[in-house]
Each structure stands twice: as structure tokens, then as C-alpha cells.
Amino acid sequence: MKKPRKVLILGSGGLKIGQAGEFDYSGSQAIKALQEEGVRVVLMNPNIATVQTDRGFADAVYFLPLTLQFATEVIAKEKPDGILLGFGGQTGLNLGLELFDTGVLKKYGVRVLGTPVATIRDTEDRDLFVKRLAEVGVETARSVAVTNVRAAAKAAAKLGYPVMVRSAFALGGEGSGVVRTEAELTEKLSEVFHTVPQVLVEEYLGGWKEVEYEVVRDRADNCITVCNMENLDPMGIHTGESIVVAPSQTLTNEEYHRLREIAIRTIRHLGVVGECNIQYALNPETGAYRVIEVNARLSRSSALASKATGYPLAFVAAKLALGATLPELANAVTKTTTACFEPALDYLVIKMPRWDLTKFENATNRIGTEMKSVGEVMAVGRSFEEAFQKGLRMLAVGADGFVAHRSGNFKIPDYLSEIREATTTRVFALAEALHAGVSAEKIHELSGIDRWFLSRLENIVRIERAFSKGKKPPAALVRRAKRAGFSDAQIGVLTGASEDAVREARRKAGILPVVKQIDTLAGEFPAKTNYLYVTYNGTEHDIKAKQKGTVVLGSGPYCIGSSVEFDWAGVQALRTLKAAGRETVMVNYNPETVSTDYDLPDRLYFEELSLERVLDIVEFEQAAGVVVSTGGQIPNNLALKLHARKVNVLGTSPEDIDRAEDRHVFSALLDKLGVDQPAWAELTTRKDAAKAAKRLGYPVLVRPSYVLSGAAMAVAFDEPALMKFLERAVNVSSDHPIVMSKFIENAREIEIDGVAKGGKLVIYAMSEHVENAGTHSGDATVVLPPQRTYLETVRRAKRIAKAIVRELSITGPFNIQFLAKDNNIQVIECNVRASRSFPFVSKVTGHNFIELAVKAMLGGDVSGEYRTLDLDYVAVKSPQFSYSRIKGADPLLYVEMASTGEVAAFGDSYHEALLKSMLSAGFRLPKKNVFVALGGEENKVKLLPSLRTLAELGFKLYGTDGTTKFLLENGIRATTVHKIHTGKLPNVLTLLDSDVVDLIINIPARTLARKNHADPALRKLHDGYMIRRRAVDNGIPLLTNRQLAEAFVTALAEIQDGGLKAKPWNEYLAQG
């Protein structure tokens, strides 16, 4: 096989539910593998916060929408002779298939590397899949592929209810679920067929064990399984929603190897070249199996398997795609043995999903066959209990483990029902049930969870019970507890001692953890890499402390508000430290990240970011210093605690970091500096809150202190709304005060991201939000350089930034958010750490802000002239939402962050960049028909010019009576459809269901006031909500923000055909 000269890699775009940071990891690995082979790499991915789009990786990077049009342009321009389809998730794969089907690849002579397209088809088309597997005697769930509702009903009747419906060509099981009656089937499928052409009706396998294998095959037909995994939650719960353990725990040798053999037989027959995974259902009573699916590409599971075993699946898959064979490749850990082997683990890992459903009003916390989790964690241990409790802490939801939480939260009143009908808090319901004396047998009956897992959880509860309050526990008990993953804090809760006291006593008793290596061969051969974890189930360290290393704390799980950007920042920090000759140590536990690639730091601890564990590591390593400012809020929250325990925190002093975090102190500081800020108050009771709101004047913004991503934030326009919010979302007390501030309407937001050294500003970038204040900065469309901000405002913002930097003696990264109204400028907040926009500003300006920040922390020379404002191009960053996954959630922009990712694009003009950026986030340009529903007079009046433009551009406008009446009065033709509640037809929904409308502009009267109906049923009757929800469910582009709608229409009018250019990143940078 001839090696290609230049290869195009399709990325996965913005992070969304079902497709997250794992594809940054797999893409980065692929690029590394290709470059090692001397192949030039072209990367197309609008996800600007990724490591793979960094300089020094691909030879050319295109921040462009992952669409046929743009991909074709890139191919025409770059003329690659090979393409990789399997490294950009379902998005990359679907685009690749489209390029193949439309003949683009053939036209330009681009060869598909690795798994052939025919094989991908066999795995994606369910009919073909079943047929192909039957050819080699492999069993699949009995299923029928259908393309309409009637055929589905027929198939279901034949199989017998309950049945499972699954949509083909969809990532993360979107549109899948158990259906128990024909009525339910009809309702579900009428919606699903809007977005997918084909649906499978299948036999129901609820309660069967769910097992998965990661399989690698090369062109010479060598085939191995790198890892198997077993779900704690049996079939019926999506594997992305399940707690997963690797290797399998309850399978016998016969079961393990029977499924393994079937995996290899199947994958050989299908002809995969590279990596894939295969999922099984395994009957716990009979051992019968069904193959559920094969993903012929890198996946979330493959990233997890790579981290679980130390086997770099993506790297190997890329090499195999170029024609290498497995025996030719070396084991990346030992360097002396072959890659043609199957890792032997002498530890186990547990993956747990992280949900953020509380951020979405109306979303239920029930979990099932559709993926809703936004991130995951992986815990390593040498006992199940140890890994399990680590994992629960790693989720960063406030749990201290399975039991004994400091917060006293995680009480589940109706635990039995949550065990029966799984929810996001089922794991805590298990703890409650065991506390209440419910037998494991009963729990097994209700949940189908294997008795083995339940016996391990019972063991945790047994140990918990052995402690007593106020009594010093015997050393043997403490040791037993530590081996079962209890933290010092948990033991403190159980004995009534402080975490520090428990730690001190434990150390005196010589109960200390050991550091072990993940070496792929269970000790059979020595490892050359330092991929490490910490355990109490061992007596010997595998390594010696190196001393004087610099520790970088990672970001923890991806969740709303903390995403791939903090992984990017951590990776930059490691690189910069390495370049400065430092020994580097990374601590992180998110398997979807690049920072947890053991190639990167000198030592990787796949470990908790808890005070206890970070201290363990810092003490063991005798670290020279710790970087806390590149991993988001989790490490930032440790700064002061580490400082108090004499750990050297690099950069800004933790006391100064705290001065920015503590609202009172920061407010006083702003007053002292003469910097304006919105009026605010801190309150501990509801009564005071009402009083304060009256004083500040409604609307008010309410939030608890110390937040990231605006958790539990809201704008209240009147007292009833305020009271309702406080009741619903916040536990107000003296320990948990809330902060209330005057909410300023129609103000604009500006952000400064910067780096300082010794209190002097080194570099800064200023960006502005398209949406007015009221949209969370993480959900806003952000423009760099600013387009509408007065020069005077820019100067003032910079002056303020300089003053704050000086006052806090900042060394390292920081971010300041401003409100601008007319010529006034106010500071909303300041974070003395890297913010989520650091990768964006770094890549747009061409200056790596983290590199400068870390250099500054090390005392290096960072002086220079950095041009960041006067650029000859514009970049726009857009939020990526996952509303289609969160059933029932209202897709309105709000003060609470709801986006799961972001994308960005460059343009020669603001308009070009805006459209490309929106397209990158999945928006589609309208062709003909636009539905408009505007609430309130102000929205109508202000949007009139834009709507006139749309009409002039030849768009046909539809609307409900209020809006169309207004349009007609103003001389714009529009067609009226009835509102839903009138009961007349055709109404809005029939219009939206008729596949006619290709853009919806729906601006509610008060965009900021989410209707807080306590009863979701009432809310569903609301027309605006139903329109927005239908837009999401039917996949129709939706604009809900007036400023964004205006900007979009203007851009649409400005940009002519061919105005959206496919230019690589470096061409823009060269423009200066």
C-alpha cells in the first residue's frame, strides 16, 4: 500500500452531548501518528478550544463548518490524497460518507484510509448490519428497519411490546427508547422521522448485562481486543449514561472469551482496518448474547479504553490506516514489546457519567436509552470500592464518596423508585436503600444491577457502620476504610473529626497510599512511561520521587461551564513548563482529555483533584510548585487550601486570588480603585432578599457565591418570581449566602482576557458579546476584535484592567467581564485564572496566552509588543447547544449557561466570520421560508428593519397574528398561522411539522424571564415554548435573541454567494 502524501482529517466540531472532548484526544493522536510517518496533515475542525488545532500539530488548520460545501472547498484547495473519517466522531464520519456519496472524493482522487466505506455502511445501516453478522453466525437483537410510523407499528406488533426503537445514523442513541404501547410508539416516531430516515424496532433486552469490547484489526488480518468493559447499569440505560467498569467483573473465562471471539470474528468479517467497538447484551441467567452495535470509528469508549489500559488506540488506528501492521508497532508503554497484544490490567477502572440536567428547566432527571450526560470521569483503583468512591468524588458534584458526605446532601427520599426507574442520582439512592436495610436481592430485582456490584456497595456501608462518632477509630479500621476508598473527609464525618485531624492521625499510624504504574502488562515487563495512580491496596511504590517537579492541576470532568478549553490550557501549561526545562507532573482524571495522555507530562497521575490527593502527590513528589490557574474552577478552589498547607502555588498569590473571589473584598477593592460596579447585596434569608431587591430595584440578578457557569443563577423581574426562585433553586442560609445585584437591561458585555506579571499587564485581548447582558458569557456569541465598542470604552476597560492587575499583584492569567451601557462601564467579575475564552483569544491573536502566563509564573521574560486589537480579520465564537438531547428543555438564552461547547470561525469581515461561526455550530442558512414570532412591542419595532431586509432578500415570512399584523401594517407581506391554543388549523405546529420552514425567529417579550411555572404541564401549553421546542425537535434553526437575529440578518444580506471563504488559519494570521 502506497503511503499517502497529504491527509485530511475531519474533526468533530463543538462539544455536544454524545460527542465531547474524546475526539480532540483521538484527533491529536492521529495527527501525531501521521506526522511521525512524514505525512502532511490538513485538519478541518471549527472547535477552536482543541489541542489538535494548535500550531505545531496539523500542517494546515481550517476553522470551518463541517459541511459538504466547505469540505469540498478545502479538498479542492489542499488536494489531499487521503482522508481519515474515523477520528471526528459521528459528525466527521457522516461528513466523510457524504463526500464519498457525492463523488467529491473520487473527483479529487482522495482515498479513504483505514476502514473502507463499505464496512462503515454495513455498521451504520441496521438491515445490512444484521445480515452481515448472520453470515458468520453472529446473533443480533431481532429487529426490523422501518422508514415510517405505520411499518414501525406493524413490526412492533410482531415482536411484541415492549420494544426498543433506535434511530440509525445518530450519535449517542439520539431518538432511541423503550416503547410499551402502540400509542407511545406513534407519538415518539412522528418526531424522530423528522431528523432520521430510518428507525429500528427491536426486541427488548432490558436487564441483560451490557458488555463492550474495543477491537483493533490491521490489513494483514491481525485482530486483537484491547479492553472489555462491563456496565454496572444493565441494558436499558445508554452506555454513556452508565457506570462502567473495566475489565468486566462478573464474566467467567468462558463468557469473556466467547464474546471476545465473536468480536474478532465479526470485525474480521466486516473488514475494519483500525479501531472499532462492539457492544453486547449478555443474558445473566443463560449466557445467551446479542450483538447490539459496532461503531467502526474511534469513540468515547475507545478514548476510555485507551486511558483504562494505556494502549493508545487512536494512535495505533492511524498507523494501521496508513498500512502498518500491529506487530510492526511497539507497545507505547514498555517500548520494548509489541503493540500486537492485549493489555493485562492489574487494577480496575470505573467510569462515571457527569450530568448537568439541573441546568435545564423542565428536563427530567430520568435516564435511559438516550445519552444526556455531558462528561465523565475515570477512577483507577485496586479494589472496586476504592475506584467507586474515588469516581463519585471526581464527579465534582459535592459527593464525598458513596456515603458520609460533608454537605449532608444526597438524601433521596423516594429511593426505591429511583432505583427502579433510573435517575441521575440513582447511585445515591442505592446508598440510601442500603442504609435503610433494603436487601441487595431486592435492589437487584428492582434495578437489574448485578448482585456482585451490590455486594461491593454493601461492603462500603458495612465499613461506614464500623465507625462511631466521637470515637478514635482503630488503625485497622482506618486502613480497611482507606482500602475501600474512604477519604479523610469521609472518615472525619463518621468520627466527628476534621479532615486535617484524620490525615494527621492516619499519617502517624503509617497508613499511607502507594503510587502504582499503569503498564499494560501487569508487571510482566518494565514500563518506560509514568502513567500513575494512587492506591491504598498496595505496600510498595512503583516509582521513586523525582523531586522538584512542577505540578499542573487539570480541570476534572467536562460539564456545562468547564470544557475542553481548560484541557487545552493545561496542555499549554505542561508544554511551556517542559520547554523551560521543568519536570512536569499532571493531575487529572477526565478520560476525554489530551492532558491525560501519558506522553505529555513526565508523570501523569490519573487521580482526584481533591485537597487530600493533591497533597499526597505534592508530598510524594516533593514538588517545586503547583499551577492552579489553567484548569478552571476546580483547581482554583484549591489554591488557598494548598497555600495554607505550605504548598508553593505558582503565579498570583492565593490570597489575592481569594480577594477576587470574595465578593465583599472584591467590591471594596473596586470602590477603592474608583471602578464602577452594579449595586449588589449579600443575603442569608428570604426576607432580607425581598427587602434588598426592592432597594436595588427590579430586575435583579440572583446567584450563590462561588459559582462557575452560573449554576443556580436567575434574573427576577418581580417579587413572586424572586421568591419562587429562592424556593426552587437555592438553599439560602448563613453558610450559603446568595448574592443579588441590580440587573441592567440593554447593556452590552465586554471581556478582557489577559496575562500579567508582577502586577503589570503583559498582554490582553478584548472581545465583545453580540447578545446583550443577560445571556451568560458561555452562551454568548463573542467577537474579536470588538466591532461596536467605542474606542473610549476600550481605553477605559484597559485602564480598569491595569488597575485591578496592579491591586491584585497578578502574575499569570486573568479574565475581567464588563458591562457597557452608553459610555458607562462597570466590572461584573474578575477571575484570576484562565477563562474559557483563552484558546479563542490565543488562536485569534496568534499569541499563546497560557504560554505567556506560565512563563510569567516562572519569572521568565514576557515583555514584547503584542498586537491584539488592530487585526485585519475578525473571528467569532458561537455556542454549541445540545438541546435536542435534553427533552423538554427550553432553548432560550439565559443567565444560566446551557451550551455544552463552542466553535469559532475567521472571516475577512465580521459578517463572514459570524455566518461561518453559526454554521459551524450547526446552524443552516435559510433558503425560503422564515417563521417569525415576536413578543412585545420593543422586539417588533427593533427587529422591523431586519425583517424588511429578509423580505427584500426574497424570504417568505410566516407568523402568528400579532406579528403578522404588525408586519402588514409596516408594509411587509407575511402569512398568518393560528396560535396553538386557539385550536384552529393550520396552526404553528402544523406549519413547523410540514418541513417548509427553514428558520425560526422567536423572541419572547422578556428574553430574560423564563416562565417559572412550577407545573411543567402548564408550561407546555405556552406557545412560545412549544415553538422553540418544536424547532429543536424538528431540527429547524432557531434564533431567540434579538441582537443575534439582527446581526444574522445583516450578515445574510451582506454576504453574497461565495462570500464565505475556505481559508486556513495561518493565512488569516499572516494578514496580521
Partner: protein
Amino acid sequence: MTLSLADGTTVEGSSFGAPVSVSAEVVFNTGMVGYVESLSDPSYAGQILVLTYPLVGNYGVPSPESFESKKIHAAGLVVAEYVDEYSNHTAVESLSAWLTREGIPAMSGVDTRALTKILREHGVMEGRLNHSRAKRENVFSTSDNFVAKVSPEERTVEGEGDVTILAVDCGMKENIVRSLRARGARVIRVPWDYDFSGEAYDGVLLSNGPGDPMTCAATVANVRKAFEADAPMLGICLGTQMMALAAGAKTYKLKYGHRAQNQPCALSGTERCFITSQNHGYAVDAKTLPKDWEVWFANANDGSVEGIRHKTKPFRAVQFHPEAAPGPTDTAWVFDEFLASVRKRKKAS
């Protein structure tokens, strides 16, 4: 309970087996499943088995039909964590109950990774599992003839078939017999030192077994005699070493053996490499192979011989376990090829 190694290392743990002490060679296996198959594999006779996977006992112990022999042959078991609450539909009892009933000592609570690293660095060595309330002590020495202890006493015939395979049982795993029977062969099972020159058979299988092949001089002599008959012959594990010795090659003891389910074996002259299950402490020295023999498989990790074959005659042998149990089944085709050659020859004659 304690484990003391010949180098002076002593580790403590808790007993979950029989109250017995034992002295024997200490070896480690890195498989993540398969403790039932390993413990009942006669090749572990006279060895204390250390498992590197930390949780053992999870799926209990099934009924004896699926064992690899009638009883536990390993001398003792050492694990990190023993899990008594087993769960699997095939289980009939716990691992602890089985071990106790069979009089085999077992110890948990050990850092088996640390122990494995010692064995890797120093090589396998003698050790003593010391139970504080031991009623007796079993003592094994590596110079023992373990094959004589685990081989059957009498010739037996199993099944019916179009071809007859004479299997020299030096401690043969049941799954070898199952593999032959499943492919339609009749199996004559004979003791290790049985002179089978007078038997009527179509092919010979030399089984796996424990210990040093040099202690099996009688078998080696019989194999040398059988070479003359030209009937297809397949050696497995110890059978490979005996075939090599019969051909005039030499064997040697590996530093710490291959006991795993993930051993990569490259098929000579091809790009193919197979994942195999292994349990052996001795290996064939490639340099000493006579010129009419060649290496069939080589270990992709350390280059050691994993299979030999005669250049012109149907004599082949694999150091790994094509019958799996425990471990991957990828090389079951070795049986297919063997029986094909047996049938081909039978048809021709």
C-alpha cells in the same frame, strides 16, 4: 498467614483456603479471568500461583464438568483481594469453599503487583505459604517428576470418530480432549510413559504438563520412536518441549516463564501474529533445533520459541495453548489443521 520467598522476602495476608502450609515454586499469571481453569490445569502442579488481577472469586466456581481436570493442581494461590460474594449463573460454590474442600491453601491481601515485580527481577523462586494453624505441610521441589504425579495410570478411550488420536497425557487439560472430540476424533488417552508403538492410531497428540521436560525421558524416547511412523503429531506446551528433545534440540528454563492470556506469537514467514494463552516455565532453544526443523512461532515480545515444525513431515508443536481455557481461542485453527492433516494422511493410505 505469610508467604516467604527464597530471597528472604516475606509478605503477610489472610487465608481464604485450606489450613495447610506449602513449599513450592512461586509463579505469576497476568490473566484477568480464568482462575477456575488455571487452578485445575495440571501444568500448575507443584506451583504456588500468584494472580496479578486484584479481584479474584467474583464469578465463583462452576460445576466440575467445565474444569480442566478433576481437581485443583496448583499447590497454592495468592491474590490481592478475594471476593467471597460471587455472582454468576454458572457458579455452584465460592472459590474459598472449593479451595478448602480440596485442601489447597490460599492467601489474600497481598500486593501481588509488588510480588510479581520481585519474581520478574529475580526470576521465579521457591516460596513457602505458611498457615499459622496448618494441620499439614505440602512440600514440592522443582526437581520432582510432576508429570508422573498428574498423568493417568491407565489407558482409556473416549468417544467415537473417523480418526483416532493417541493422546499422551502428561497432565492434559480437558479442553484439549474436548477440542479433539468436537472435531470428530476418537481419543485414546495413555499415561505419560506408555509405549504406544503397538497402538493403532492416525495421529499423536503430546499434551501439556507440569515441570521440567527433562524429567520425561520415557516420553521423549517414545516420541522419537513415533517419528518413524510418520503419523501427524501435534505437541502442546510441554509436548512441544518433548518433541524438541526427541528431535535432538535442547530446552532451558525461562527466567520467569510465560503465564498469561495475552502472549503475542508471530507466525514465521508471515505478517500474522496471534494472541495466545500460555503457561510454561521452560522453552525450546532455537539455536539447537536440527536442520530439518524450524521455528513455527516466535514470541513477539521476547523472541523465544513458541512453536516448531518439521520441514517435511507432519510434526508440529505449539508452546501456547490452542485449546485456550483459560484465555483467547484465536489459535483453535491449530486443531483444525492437525485433524485435516490426520484425515488427509488416512485417506491417502
